[in-house]
Symmetry: C2
Subunit: 301 residues, 2 copies
């Protein structure tokens, strides 16, 4: 039994490797929900969907967003009618979002909805949204003041300088703490530490539960650059160095084993002052083989 803490891009890549070597029914993924929001009237739980599509082998893994081979009839009609949506939503992906909207309106929780949808898509892993409550993430920027996360990412292409990142306090979803307590190992994937992982560990009871467990993290950083997304800006805004050193400091209270890239061998000694157990391997996942190799390394298998 393993439990994975996931955001939207780096960790799903690692999941593609893990699911090849570990029984899917023994995997639980706790997913960040802080970026969830209504968009064009539909409820978008982007990271939940990415993880769900990854297990269902439907993910468009060029972008780790949307469904491979999806059609764009609705989007194309909207464009013809003069409206270009900021998010590029395919028809099947939109149907998944519309179903969430309908079921939320009927009073179902996000956890219940994700459970229903992942079962319908034949996913055997458990997928647990970190919270069933609405939350909000705000990026306070120097140039534009307060921005919604999607506007920061897409409209402003991550170009603004980040002064602060704020997100709401939310209650854990009902299965969250148990998913940590029941796991033999907890894996924190190479997702954005500030916007994807920190919202999960900031939830009441999560850090305490993690302290009791074998927690293994894979750093999303390689030298000065993060693998994907605007991680560096966010790390700096929280006063952490934008490198594996900063990640080690952020995860220090509960981390037992830290995996960094071979190219960061030179930081190993310094990181070992923060986390004693540091290992190096290739963390850059391009091919399925890379993903499986990293998964084996993480799981010691």
């Amino acid at each position: 039994m393993i439990t994975i803490l996931s955001g939207g891009t780096g960790t799903p890549k690692l999941i593609q490797g893990i699911k090849e070597i570990y029984p899917e029914e023994d995997i639980t993924v706790i997913v960040n929900t802080v970026e969830n929001e209504y968009f064009s009237g539909g409820y978008v739980a982007a990271d939940c969907d990415t993880v769900m599509y990854t297990f269902a082998d439907m993910i468009d893994d060029e972008f780790f967003y949307g469904i491979i081979g999806d059609t764009f009839k609705i989007r194309n009609i909207l464009i013809e009618m003069g409206t270009t949506e900021l998010l590029k939503i395919g028809d099947m992906d939109r149907a998944i979002k519309i179903q969430k909207t309908i079921l939320l309106e009927e009073g179902k929780t996000l956890s219940e909805i994700v459970e229903h949808q992942k079962n319908k898509l034949g996913v055997k892993a458990k997928i647990i949204p970190m919270s069933d409550e609405d939350s909000e993430i705000k990026i306070i920027t120097k140039e534009y003041g307060e921005l919604k996360f999607h506007d920061f990412l897409i409209k402003h292409q991550c170009e603004a300088e980040v002064v602060e990142v704020q997100y709401s306090d939310v209650k854990p979803s009902s299965g969250l703490i148990q998913a940590i307590e029941n796991a033999d190992k907890i894996i924190i994937g190479p997702s954005n530490p500030i916007t994807s992982i920190r919202p999960i560990i900031a939830i009441d009871g999560v850090e305490e539960a993690l302290k009791e467990k074998e927690v293994i993290a894979v750093s999303p950083f390689l030298g000065e650059g993060a693998f994907s997304g605007p991680a560096a800006k966010f790390m700096n805004a929280f006063g952490f160095e934008a490198s594996s050193i900063g990640v080690a400091e952020l995860y220090k209270p509960f981390l037992k084993r830290f995996i960094i890239d071979t190219k960061d061998e030179k930081m190993k000694e310094e990181i070992e002052k923060i986390i004693p157990n540091v290992q190096t391997t290739n963390t850059f996942m391009k091919t399925l083989e890379d993903k499986i190799n990293l998964a084996k390394f993480v799981l010691n298998e």
Copy 2:
């Protein structure tokens, strides 16, 4: 210049006839909005869309709802995923509703949105939602208490006994009163008098403006039965006889000419005590010829 007061089924049939014999750019339609609501996260302005699709020759005129030849990809995925929407929404129709949702969120008014959409669809007639404010219609029934209009129509198939119909007071949209004042003739189509027409005439200033105009109404009733929809139940709930006599009483304060079906010739004398100018013709519109003939009769052309 003519202005037509319209609901969702009977009047669009008449519009199909009128647009064949009258210059489209000289037609204005004021559309009931009291049934508008969010549905599956999308804003549904059913009567606005029906009128817009009718002018664009896109209407599915078997049901006067939706777009002819539309596909149902999203609906079918939802069904596969275990959710059957009460309204059967095609993909293009859904895109139109999603665009409304997006533009409302951006702060546009419903009037501005309908103007934009009808222009994109090549419609030359003016289409004016009666109000840009949200409104609500509640059907109070004996069996189930308070029902939403769509639930009454679709879920309960109009079978419940109607005790009362309630709808919100709303402000007129900016072009509404002017559309009445500028018209040479006002035509009240054969729509449900209670749920489609009365909400328009109940708006502040509308009845006063109608009193100054040549107002012509086509009765939706033929003998004891309305052409379509649950008009009889609603008429009774408001204390009006469910026939052309009841309609005459309802429209009496401003009606100048009333057109009833030839089969109701026997009621003509009694109706003339309410409205002096009553004419009979075939009001049953099955073929385009029926629709054109009735349009010619209404317009005296």
